[in-house]
Subunit: 344 residues, 2 copies
């Protein structure tokens, strides 16, 4: 399959994130994509291609103009305020209940207004990497539109936690939502399957009131797992979108038996929706040795996951999301793609 | 004047806070109160007294039961989750727009739901110190009710950033709001004057819809100053409270000329309200050498501030809030009290 890749991600390299009360080494690092790239080449998954530049139009179809502007200038504003040697921009105060969102304030106000966590630092290269990642997802969607059976957007930062106007969870722009909207705008009916360990709250919220994009997610129950504040089983969509959202939260330590049961339910939902194209938020942090997650999938399970996805018999975009075990990440990512190809 | 003090604050000693993208040494430290205590004794401001225990009733008159319960158990839940050696509890994700407040979730969910910043860590001693600080403010109000001209609640953590159901800004329970409500409940009409450099967003929001408590604040304009998301000049109160809220935000680098102008406007507003008692949120971070603030008051200006407050000729509770220059803090705090006493 075609693999879309841009080196722009290399410039997005925040050294640390803040969580559990302390600074911790970043886990969403450039090596993630570089290792997968090497493994995909080694196992001959497909040709590596640069993304096409789609401009800002497809981004603005999904994201609020204020968020886009802020992301484009946040690093510069932050360094202007705190100096060139300042650490990456991370919010430390936000508009809690009874306070006011400040979309037009200074950099601290806008950071707190547009972000929902402290794990998503903004550095100089964040904006160009985010645009490149969106362009990779769009290029993969375009390849499908042109008749490809499958395509892989191998990019970072990931996207599925970013909503129309809030970023977080290592995500700035929602790559898969931008690609899904592009599909809609080009006459294709998309279904999104999110297999990242963490609920794709951004993707869900972007399409929550709509019936033209299905969102299905299998993830760690937010009663214990990030992003904590969305992803429950009772979130079915609203208004026209009622029924076009399916969350399948699973208990801590879920292994392939539980996971494949959920995957089967997801597949049934997707088939019933009758999409033209499947967009997979391919997170690999369901792996048993992922450093920040609590599922128990083994390496060979990812071959089965790829086969199950192929079983939907839909043109398929794989969009790289989470997955943080650097030693296993490349192998399990390519396992999904290989499982898919073998069964497609 | 009577000075209410409890050693419980010594056990609330978070070593660090997170802001500007990095861990920084805490500035809201026990030494603040200890230095003021020594100076107040040296300059014979008044007798040091232990607070009376008012129980939970006056706290629950102001604060949401969910916040109170959470604060009382947060440290224990946090250590249960992350281990006894874990750093203090600080939120790292919160319910941004489109996400759900989770008042009943796990410790991470509740932390993000009940807090609005990363500068307000919870340690083992936080809860007992917070209750003791509230009791100091209540004891000072009770002294006024009993006929004292003035009383000083020399306690920490401070309180004015804590609203009914959100904590932050080094504040957990809103001591001065609890004391103001106690006054209302005991037949006294209170006005709150907040002279802390940072807007008392918590106090404002608690009384925003009410006409029985006046809130007046002089502070750094939130267009550049913490708490960023409240404290603008156009916040006048709402409903019955319309007109009972006055914010006097001042520009960066404001010195005594601008400050005394604002203090004069504040005094006019307070006189017009006709209160029985004045409650002063006594923050000392308007000082020119405060490490985290941007005003330019000099040490002798605090004598003038005390005299101006005495000029209102009201029974007065001073409640200790911010102020972080450890070398100057004791002298300038006692300057206010001495200026007040000399003019009273």
């Amino acid at each position: 399959m075609k693999i879309f890749y841009s080196p722009a991600h290399l410039e997005h390299e925040p050294p640390q994130e803040f969580e559990q009360g302390r600074m911790a080494p970043a886990v969403e690092v450039p090596e993630r994509v570089e290792r997968v790239r090497a493994e995909a080449e080694r196992r001959k998954i497909g040709a590596l291609l640069p993304p096409r530049d789609f401009g800002m139009e497809p981004v603005s179809r999904v994201h609020d103009a204020g968020l886009v502007t802020f992301l484009s200038e946040a690093s510069s504003l932050w360094r202007k305020r705190y100096g060139e040697g300042a650490p990456p921009a991370i919010p430390s105060a936000w508009p809690g209940r009874g306070m006011k969102n400040r979309f037009q304030g200074d950099v601290e106000s806008r950071l707190g207004t547009y972000a929902f966590d402290t794990a998503t630092p903004i550095v100089r290269g964040t904006w160009s990497a985010s645009l490149a990642a969106a362009n990779c997802a769009l290029s993969a969607a375009e390849a499908i539109k042109s008749g490809e059976r499958a395509a892989f957007a191998l990019a970072r930062p990931p996207g599925h936690h970013a909503s129309a106007d809030v970023f977080g969870g290592y995500c700035y722009l929602n790559n898969i939502a931008i690609a899904a909207q592009w599909c809609v705008d080009h006459g294709l009916k998309p279904a999104v399957l999110d297999v990242d360990y963490h609920h794709g709250n951004g993707t869900q919220s972007i399409f929550y009131g709509r019936d033209d994009v299905l969102f299905v997610s299998i993830h760690g129950d937010p009663s214990f797992a990030y992003p904590h504040f969305l992803g429950f089983a009772d979130e079915h969509g609203e208004g026209r979108g009622e029924g076009a959202n399916l969350n399948l939260p699973l208990p801590m330590y879920s292994a392939w038996d539980a996971y494949s049961w959920a995957l089967d339910k997801a597949a049934k939902k997707i088939r019933a929706f009758g999409p033209d194209v499947l967009l997979v938020s391919l997170g690999l942090d369901s792996f048993e040795a992922d450093p920040i997650s609590k599922f128990k999938l083994r390496a060979e399970d990812y071959l089965r996951m790829g086969e199950a996805i192929a079983g939907l018999k839909l043109p398929t975009v794989f969009n790289f999301e989470g997955g943080y075990n650097l030693d296993a990440l490349a192998a399990i990512t390519v396992n999904v793609l290989e499982g898919f190809e073998s069964a497609a």
